[in-house]
């Protein structure tokens, strides 16, 4: 009888306390091991969707940007082709450059005394010019020294013709002096008595060319060009210069 009572008590205890408690524990375990991970996964999924949406917006922006850039493509190509022409890549343009200067001197009645071409090469890397860092592209300077004599106006025309010859040649330094045998009695030496005066000029001209250094193929360069962000725009000063002088 007592055993039965004890059994009943146990059953009652089980029914009243242990079973609800067990249910609570099971529910807690389900919450911890099923609901929370599922919730995390759901939130992570939503977060991922938001991230993807943002990325999609960026890409759409990039695409729209390129579409808008597309309108300027012919102009950019024209400028780039001209730059490729006047600043060639991986070609030696020194001999041709010297001949061109001699021809211009002859055209402008300036006597070319001597020239010293291709003696030294100065290299500017992209980092040096503040450009995007490009390990394998260099701008090579090919300086050439010339000495000429002639009348001042002829020399001015000669210098101007170098600028307007359709090539990119920079007069890096120049020293123009009256020849010692010339005489000047007027106060305005240039415009009154210089018509027949001889002037001597020594100058250093610089021709430029791009060079791909090392063993990297030019294919790698196109990857570098392609890696430039769309937001980076070409230097407008240079674009204007090319358009005004060559196109």
């Amino acid at each position: 009888m007592k055993e039965k009572e004890t059994k009943n008590d146990l059953q009652e205890l089980m029914r009243l306390y242990i079973l609800p408690f067990g249910g609570f524990v099971v529910a807690l375990l389900i919450v911890i091991f099923a609901i929370i991970p599922l919730l995390n996964e759901t939130f992570a999924g939503i977060e991922e969707i938001n991230r993807l949406r943002t990325r999609h917006q960026e890409l759409i922006g990039e695409r729209n940007n390129r579409v808008s850039m597309q309108a300027g493509l012919p102009r950019q190509e024209a400028v780039l082709n001209k730059i490729r022409e006047v600043i060639p890549q991986s070609q030696t343009a020194v001999a041709d450059f010297s001949e061109r200067i001699s021809a211009l001197a002859a055209q402008n009645n300036v006597r070319l005394q001597n020239s010293n071409v291709g003696e030294s090469v100065r290299v500017n890397t992209g980092a040096a010019t503040g450009s995007v860092e490009i390990a394998n592209l260099e701008l090579v300077e090919l300086p050439a020294e010339f000495s000429v004599t002639g009348e001042l106006n002829s020399i001015i025309e000669f210098l101007s013709s170098i600028y307007n010859a359709g090539d990119f040649i920079v007069i890096r330094n120049m020293d123009l002096q009256k020849s010692v045998r010339s005489s000047s009695s007027s106060s305005d030496a240039r415009f009154s008595t210089q018509a027949t005066d001889n002037w001597n000029m020594s100058m250093t001209l610089t021709k430029f060319q791009f060079r791909v250094s090392g063993s990297q193929a030019e294919e790698a360069l196109s990857d570098v060009y392609f890696g430039v962000p769309d937001s980076s725009r070409p230097n407008q000063q240079v674009i204007n210069f090319v358009e005004e002088n060559y196109l």
């Binding site: 599922l38 999924g45 939503i46 890409l59 995007v132 040649i169 120049m174 123009l176 980076s232 230097n235």
Partner: protein
């Protein structure tokens, strides 16, 4: 069921005689209600939890579908933008090459000047000067600065010419580099350095 002899067995005796008073109807009803409450207390939260799991699982399907949709849209856009052979790829390639090359040559371009402009500027600065200043030579230094060497019979020559240079709109900056006084003949030799504004070059 145990038969008449079963009345005298110990076991039957134990079950045959219940001294506990029988439960009242109310107690039976109360017990049944309590059992039902206990069942409800366990079942309802469990059902709620299971329902939550089900909802979350169902919710994961559209999340996964949406994510997959965005991923494929992004993949398509990325491959379109990364393709160098398309017109959009070509736009990027040209822009990149132009950006890099123009950055490289910006400094030389800044130094490339039509010398006619230089000589015209110098002419303008020396025209009708009161100090009798005369140009003796022209020059350009490696940093791109233009130099004019001149002589003057008056002490005010260098400052007069400098102020004339500074008054010319095309001139960005002008400075006297050197001034010497020669005793025989009594002359002032000076050098003026100047730089033109970029737009005029």
């Amino acid at each position: 069921m145990a038969g008449i002899f079963g009345l005298f067995s110990n076991k039957e005796y134990e079950f045959a005689f219940n001294l506990m008073p029988a439960n009242t109807k109310a107690t039976v009803k109360e017990t049944a209600k309590r059992k039902k409450q206990i069942f409800t207390a366990i079942a309802v939260p469990l059902a709620f939890i299971l329902l939550t799991i089900l909802i979350l699982l169902i919710n994961l399907i559209p999340v996964a579908l949406t994510r997959s949709g965005w991923q494929s849209a992004i993949g398509a856009l990325e491959s379109e933008l990364a393709d160098k052979t398309t017109i959009l790829g070509r736009v990027k390639l040209i822009n990149g090459e132009l950006k890099i090359k123009t950055d490289f040559i910006v400094d030389p371009v800044g130094k490339n000047v039509d010398f006619k402009i230089i000589f015209n500027t110098v002419e303008e600065a020396f025209r009708s000067n009161a100090s009798g200043s005369v140009i003796t030579s022209y020059g350009r230094s490696d940093n791109g600065q233009f130099l004019v060497n001149a002589t003057s019979t008056a002490e005010s020559g260098p400052s007069e010419i400098l102020s004339k240079f500074k008054a010319i709109e095309a001139v960005q900056s002008a400075d006297i580099v050197t001034v010497n006084r020669a005793t025989d003949p009594d002359q002032y030799r000076f050098t003026i350095g100047f730089i033109l504004k970029p737009q005029t070059t």
